[in-house]
C-alpha cells in the first residue's frame, strides 16, 4: 500500500528561458521577396522614429529539437482524460473522439478568414446553420447564437439578451435583480453582477431543490430572471420546475438555464419544454470538444421566440430561393456583438461532427449512460461508509453526485483536500472539491458516459482504500501526493509572494 507507484514523469524541466541558447539555423519566417526589398525603403524609414523599438524582445534563442523535447516532457507531466478517469464534477470530462480533431484541422476550414464574402464560405456558414438547427432541437429553443466563447460568456450573453428584452418592454430600469439558488455555479452570480444586476440568493430546501416558498418570497416586479441549472449541481432534477417557471413568469421575470449539466438530459427532456427562456450550451462539455487545459470552449445561447430579436448578430440563414447560406446582420434589435467574428468556429465544427456521429439515438444514449454511471459509482462509494450523501439520499442522481466529507474529517482529521491529493497518487484525477458550497467538505463526482464499469470499480476501490488509510495511515493522505510530477504545492506561498512571470522571478532573484 505504501509502495511508490509512479504515475507521471518527474522532470526538473527548465523554463524555456533557461534552455541553452543555440544558433541552429531556422526556417520559419520566409525571406522577403527581392522585388519587394528593391522597391521598399528600409524598415527604420517606414516607422515613426518615436515608435521604433529600441531593444528587441528577449525571446529565447533555441532550436526546434530543444523545444520538441521541452514540450514533450511538459506533456508527460500533465494529466488528461486520455490518461485516465477525470471525474471532475460539472466539467463533463468525457472522451473527445479523434475524428473531430482531424476534421477540424482541414485547411479549407482553418485557413478561412472570417470576413470573406458569403459566396466563398458557403460550407462554413452551412456548418453554423446546421449546428444551430441541431442545438435548437436538443434544447427546444427557437434560435441559438453560436457567438459566445465559453459557458460563462454564454451566461453573460443570455443575461444581456434578457436585459435588452426588459428594456424593450419598458421594464429595464425596474428589473434590477437576478435570483440564484445557493447551489449555483460561481459563474452565475459573477455573470449577474457583470451585467449590472443585484443577485438575490435563495437557499435550497432540505431535499436540495429550490424552495418554492423562498422563491415566492423574493420574486417581484424587480425580478429580471432566475438562473438555474437542471439537474442542479447536486445532480438532482428540479422536479417542481413547472411551478418554478410559473412563479418567475407570473412576476414578469424570465428563466435562464445554465447548460453546464446538459449531459444529463439529452433526449429525455428539454429546457424549452420546462419553461426556460434562454440556455447556454457548453460545447466543450456536453459535445466532446477538447478543453485544452482551460479552453477554448464555446457557449452557444438558445432562446425562445420572444427573445430572438435581441440575439447577437449575425445569425446564419439559408435562402431557399437561391439555395445559398448567408450571415444575417439585419437584426435591428440585436444586442450587437459579444465577441469578435461569429463564434469559436473550430470548436463548433468539432461539436457538429460529434452530434452527427452520435445522431438522435446516440445523444440520448450518452445521457442515459452518464446517469447510469453516476448512480452506479455513487452507490459503490457510499458502501465505503466514509462519505455521506447529503440531500435526498434516496433520489437518483443524474449525471453527477456530491459527497460530504464532514464525518470523515471529524473522525480522522482528514480533509477533502487530502483525499483529493491521495487520489492523484492512486492514478486518478480528483473530483471537483469544496463545491457546491452547500455541502461541507464536498466531493463532486461526474463520471460521464465514456468510462467502463471496470474503471468505475477501480475508482471506488481507490476511495475504499483511502477511507481505510484515513484511519490507519493518515500520513499517507496528509503527505499526498507523492507519485505525481511534484509533491503537494505551496499555494499559500504562491498567493502571498506572487511570482507571475520569468521577469518577476528574475527581479526576485536579484533582490535576494
Amino acid at each position: 500500500m505504501n509502495k511508490k507507484e509512479i504515475i507521471q514523469a518527474h522532470y526538473q524541466e527548465p523554463l524555456v528561458f533557461e534552455l541553452e541558447p543555440t544558433n541552429y539555423p531556422k526556417y520559419y519566417a520566409p525571406e522577403i521577396p527581392p522585388e519587394i526589398m528593391k522597391n521598399v525603403p528600409a524598415t527604420d524609414k517606414l516607422i515613426p522614429k518615436e515608435m521604433l523599438r529600441k531593444e528587441p524582445p528577449k525571446l529565447p534563442s533555441v532550436a526546434e529539437f530543444q523545444l520538441a523535447r521541452h514540450y514533450l516532457r511538459l506533456a508527460q507531466m500533465n494529466y488528461s482524460v486520455d490518461t485516465n478517469f477525470y471525474p471532475l464534477g460539472s466539467c463533463t470530462m468525457k472522451y473527445n473522439p479523434k475524428i473531430n480533431d482531424f476534421l477540424s484541422m482541414d485547411r479549407r476550414l482553418s485557413d478561412v478568414h472570417p470576413f470573406q464574402p458569403a459566396r466563398t464560405v458557403q460550407g462554413n456558414i452551412r456548418i453554423l446553420y446546421e449546428t444551430e438547427q441541431m442545438l435548437n432541437e436538443l434544447a427546444g429553443m427557437k434560435r441559438t447564437t453560436l457567438q459566445p466563447s465559453a459557458g460563462a460568456h454564454g451566461e453573460l450573453t443570455g443575461i444581456l439578451v434578457i436585459r435588452a428584452y426588459h428594456y424593450d418592454h419598458g421594464e429595464g430600469e425596474q428589473r434590477t435583480e437576478i435570483i440564484i439558488p445557493d447551489s449555483a455555479h460561481g459563474t452565475n452570480p459573477a455573470t449577474a453582477a457583470m451585467a449590472g444586476y443585484r443577485t438575490v440568493i435563495i437557499k435550497s430546501r432540505e431535499n436540495g431543490l429550490v424552495d418554492l416558498e423562498a422563491l415566492k418570497a423574493v420574486v417581484s416586479e424587480k425580478t429580471a430572471a432566475l438562473m438555474l441549472t437542471n439537474p442542479n449541481t447536486l445532480g438532482l432534477f428540479e422536479q417542481e420546475i413547472c411551478e418554478i417557471a410559473e412563479i418567475v413568469h407570473d412576476a414578469g421575470g424570465l428563466l435562464y438555464y445554465d447548460g453546464a449539466n446538459f449531459n444529463a438530459i439529452m433526449g429525455r427532456c428539454r429546457p424549452g419544454d420546462m419553461g426556460f427562456d434562454a440556455i447556454h450550451f457548453n460545447l466543450h462539455k456536453t459535445f466532446a470538444t477538447p478543453h485544452g487545459g482551460g479552453g477554448p470552449g464555446a457557449g452557444p445561447v438558445g432562446v425562445v421566440e420572444k427573445l430572438v430579436p435581441y440575439l447577437p448578430k449575425p445569425l446564419p440563414e439559408f435562402d431557399k430561393k437561391t439555395g445559398t447560406y448567408y450571415l444575417n446582420f439585419d437584426v435591428p434589435k440585436s444586442i450587437g456583438k459579444i465577441k469578435g467574428f461569429w463564434g469559436n468556429f473550430n470548436v463548433i465544427v468539432r461539436a457538429y461532427a460529434y452530434m452527427l456521429s452520435q445522431g438522435a439515438e446516440g445523444l440520448k444514449r450518452v445521457s442515459e449512460q452518464a446517469v447510469l454511471n453516476a448512480n452506479y459509482l455513487k452507490k459503490k462509494i457510499l458502501e465505503c461508509n466514509a462519505w455521506t450523501l447529503p440531500y435526498a439520499p434516496e433520489t437518483p442522481r443524474k449525471h453527477e453526485f456530491v459527497l460530504e466529507g464532514q464525518k470523515l474529517k471529524e473522525e480522522t482529521g482528514i480533509s477533502t483536500l487530502d483525499v483529493a491529493k491521495r487520489l492523484l497518487d492512486l492514478g486518478f484525477h480528483a473530483p471537483t472539491i469544496y463545491f457546491p458550497l452547500i455541502v461541507h467538505e464536498a466531493l463532486m463526482i461526474e463520471p460521464t458516459e465514456t468510462e467502463t464499469k471496470q474503471t468505475l470499480d477501480k475508482f471506488a476501490e481507490a476511495m475504499k482504500q483511502i477511507a481505510k488509510e484515513c484511519h490507519e495511515q493518515p500520513e499517507l493522505l496528509v503527505n499526498a501526493p507523492q507519485n505525481t510530477a511534484v509533491p503537494r504545492i505551496d499555494e499559500v506561498l504562491a498567493a502571498k509572494e506572487p511570482i507571475l512571470s520569468w521577469q518577476m522571478y528574475q527581479e526576485r532573484q536579484t533582490e535576494k
Binding site: K26, I47, M105, P487
Partner: protein, 461 residues
C-alpha cells in the same frame, strides 16, 4: 445480430442496473415530471459512421471557394510552424481540464507561465494573464478593470477609428456597470488619434483611455507618448491595443506609458478558422493593489510544500468567480489556454530574429502593395499620411468598393474589409492587409487583376 463482445457489454449494463435495483435506465429518470418529458425521438439526423461523416464534411467544405485574401481587421493569416500544431494537439495537453490539481498539471501550468512571460517580453510588462477570449473582450475587460480602480470615474474614451465589431463588444460589456463612453476622433489627414479632441474630452471623470497602435486603419500612432501624458495628467489609465507581431519592430507599450496592454493573439500560431477560437492577451505591471482587480486566470511560480522543488500553480484566485462569486473581477472561467500555450511555443520557436523577420515581411509587403495600388488611376492607397504597419486603407474613386470586391472574387481574390458602413465619410474604402503568407506571385497576380479592374473603370474620375 449480436456478437460475443456486444453480448457481454449488455451483461455488464444489466449487472449495473441490477446492482442499482432497477429494471431499466428509465427508472433513473422517473423524477422528471411527465409533463416535461420528451416523448418522441429527437429530430436529428441518424448517426453517421466515421467514413460517412468524413465524406459529408468533405462535401460541405467543397462548397467553400479557395481564394487568396488580403483581409485583416482583427484576424490575419500567418504561418504556423509544424511544432506549434504538434504541441497543441498532444492529448495530454489538449484533453486536460483547467489545472485545478497542480501536482498533476505541471506541463500545462509551466507552459502557460512561459506564455505569460513571453508576452511580457513583447509588451514590456511583467504580468500577463493566462488569456482572455479574444482581443475585443480583452479591451472590454481592461476598461471594466480600470473603472474598478476608481471610486467615481464612470467614463472611458475610445478611438473613433476602432473596428465597429470591437466597439460593439465593448458596448455590451459597459452596459451592465453603466459606464459611459465617448469616441475620440482621428486626424483626417494622418489617420492618427486627434490629440486636440482627446484633450477636450479628458477630465476627472475619465477612468481610462483606449488607444490602438497600430490603429484600425493600420496607422502607427506616432504620438502615443503624448497621448500617455495627456491621459496620465488627468489621473486616468491608458490601455493600449497592439498586434503582437508588430512589437518586434514597434516600441513596447510599457515604454510609452501604457498601464494595460491588450491585443489579438491569433497571429501567434492560431489558425484563422473563420473567426475563432482566438485568444486575447492582457498585460500589466505588477502592483499589489492593482493586480487584485485583474480579470482571468494567472499562473504563478512557487515551491512544493516540502520546499524541495520549483512548481507552478494557478494563483490569486480570490479574484475569481468560483471563490468570489458576485464580487469576482470577471465571470470568465474557461478561457483560451491551449492557444495561449501554442503562442508560447510560437514565440520560443521563432525567437526575436524570426519574429522580426516576420514583422518586416508584413510591413514591407504592405508598403509594396500600397505603392503599386496607388499608381492606379482610380485607386488611392494609403489614404492617410500617417505611417502604417501591415494594414492600410484603400479608396476607389470611381464606382464602389463593393463592385471591386465582386470582380476580385470572380478572379479568386478577396481584397480588403470594406469600411463603407462604419466610415462612410471616407468614401469608398476598404482596409487591406498583407502578411508573410503572401508570396510575391500572390501580390503580383492580385495587382494584375486590380490593374484590369482599374482599366475597366475607364477614363475620368
Amino acid at each position: 445480430m449480436t456478437n460475443q463482445k456486444e453480448g457481454s457489454a449488455d451483461t455488464i449494463q444489466k449487472e449495473m442496473e441490477s446492482y442499482l435495483g432497477i429494471r431499466s435506465i428509465d427508472e433513473l429518470f422517473e423524477d422528471i415530471p411527465p409533463s416535461v418529458r420528451l416523448n418522441r425521438p429527437l429530430k436529428l439526423p441518424a448517426a453517421k459512421s466515421e467514413r460517412d461523416l468524413s465524406l459529408y464534411l468533405d462535401e460541405i467544405l467543397s462548397q467553400n471557394l479557395p481564394v487568396t485574401s488580403f483581409l485583416g481587421g482583427g484576424a490575419q493569416f500567418h504561418y504556423i510552424p509544424a511544432l506549434v500544431k504538434e504541441v497543441i494537439t498532444k492529448p495530454e495537453l489538449l484533453n486536460a481540464y483547467t489545472p485545478y490539481q497542480p501536482e498533476v498539471s505541471q506541463g500545462m501550468l509551466q507552459g502557460l507561465f512561459e506564455y505569460q512571460s513571453l508576452i511580457n517580453e513583447l509588451t514590456g510588462m511583467n504580468v500577463t494573464n493566462a488569456s482572455m477570449y479574444d482581443w475585443p473582450t480583452a479591451i472590454a475587460e481592461a476598461l471594466l478593470m480600470c473603472r474598478r480602480l476608481f471610486n467615481n470615474r464612470t467614463k472611458v474614451l475610445l478611438p473613433q477609428s476602432i473596428h465597429p465589431d470591437r466597439l460593439s463588444v465593448v458596448e455590451n460589456y459597459l452596459a451592465g456597470p453603466k459606464i459611459s463612453y465617448e469616441l475620440i476622433s482621428f486626424n483626417k489627414e494622418t489617420g492618427e488619434l486627434d490629440l486636440e479632441d482627446l484633450r477636450t474630452k479628458m477630465n476627472e471623470n475619465v477612468a481610462a483611455v483606449y488607444l490602438e497602435n497600430p490603429n484600425s486603419f493600420g496607422v502607427i500612432e506616432s504620438e502615443a507618448a503624448t497621448v500617455s501624458r495627456i491621459v496620465h495628467e488627468k489621473g486616468a489609465k491608458l490601455i493600449v491595443g497592439v498586434d503582437p507581431i508588430s512589437l518586434a519592430l514597434l516600441e513596447a507599450p510599457a515604454n510609452y506609458g501604457a498601464d494595460i496592454v491588450v491585443g489579438e493573439g491569433q497571429g501567434l500560431g492560431t489558425p484563422l478558422s473563420f473567426g475563432g477560437p482566438y485568444f486575447g492577451f492582457f498585460s500589466l505591471q505588477y502592483d499589489r493593489k492593482i493586480i487584485r482587480q485583474m480579470p482571468g486566470r494567472v499562473v504563478g511560480l512557487t515551491k512544493t510544500k516540502d520546499g524541495t522543488k520549483r512548481a507552478f500553480v494557478l494563483t490569486l484566485s480570490t479574484r475569481e468567480q468560483h471563490i468570489r462569486r458576485e464580487k469576482a473581477t470577471s465571470n470568465i472561467c474557461s478561457n483560451e489556454s491551449i492557444l495561449a500555450f501554442g503562442a508560447g511555443v510560437y514565440l520560443s520557436l521563432l525567437g526575436a530574429n524570426g519574429l522580426r523577420k516576420t514583422a518586416e515581411y508584413c510591413l514591407k509587403a504592405a508598403h509594396y502593395l500600397a505603392s503599386e495600388i496607388n499608381k492606379l488611376k482610380h485607386f488611392e492607397a494609403p489614404i492617410f499620411k500617417g505611417q502604417f504597419y501591415n494594414e492600410f486603407v484603400v479608396r476607389v474613386t470611381k464606382g464602389t468598393m463593393a463592385e471591386v470586391e465582386t470582380r476580385l472574387v470572380e478572379e479568386g481574390f478577396v481584397g480588403g474589409y470594406t469600411l463603407e458602413k462604419c466610415h462612410p465619410e471616407l468614401g469608398e474604402t476598404a482596409i487591406f492587409c498583407t502578411t508573410e503568407m503572401h508570396t510575391f506571385e500572390d501580390i503580383d497576380r492580385f495587382l494584375k487583376v486590380l490593374r484590369k479592374i482599374d482599366k475597366d473603370l475607364g477614363g475620368g474620375a
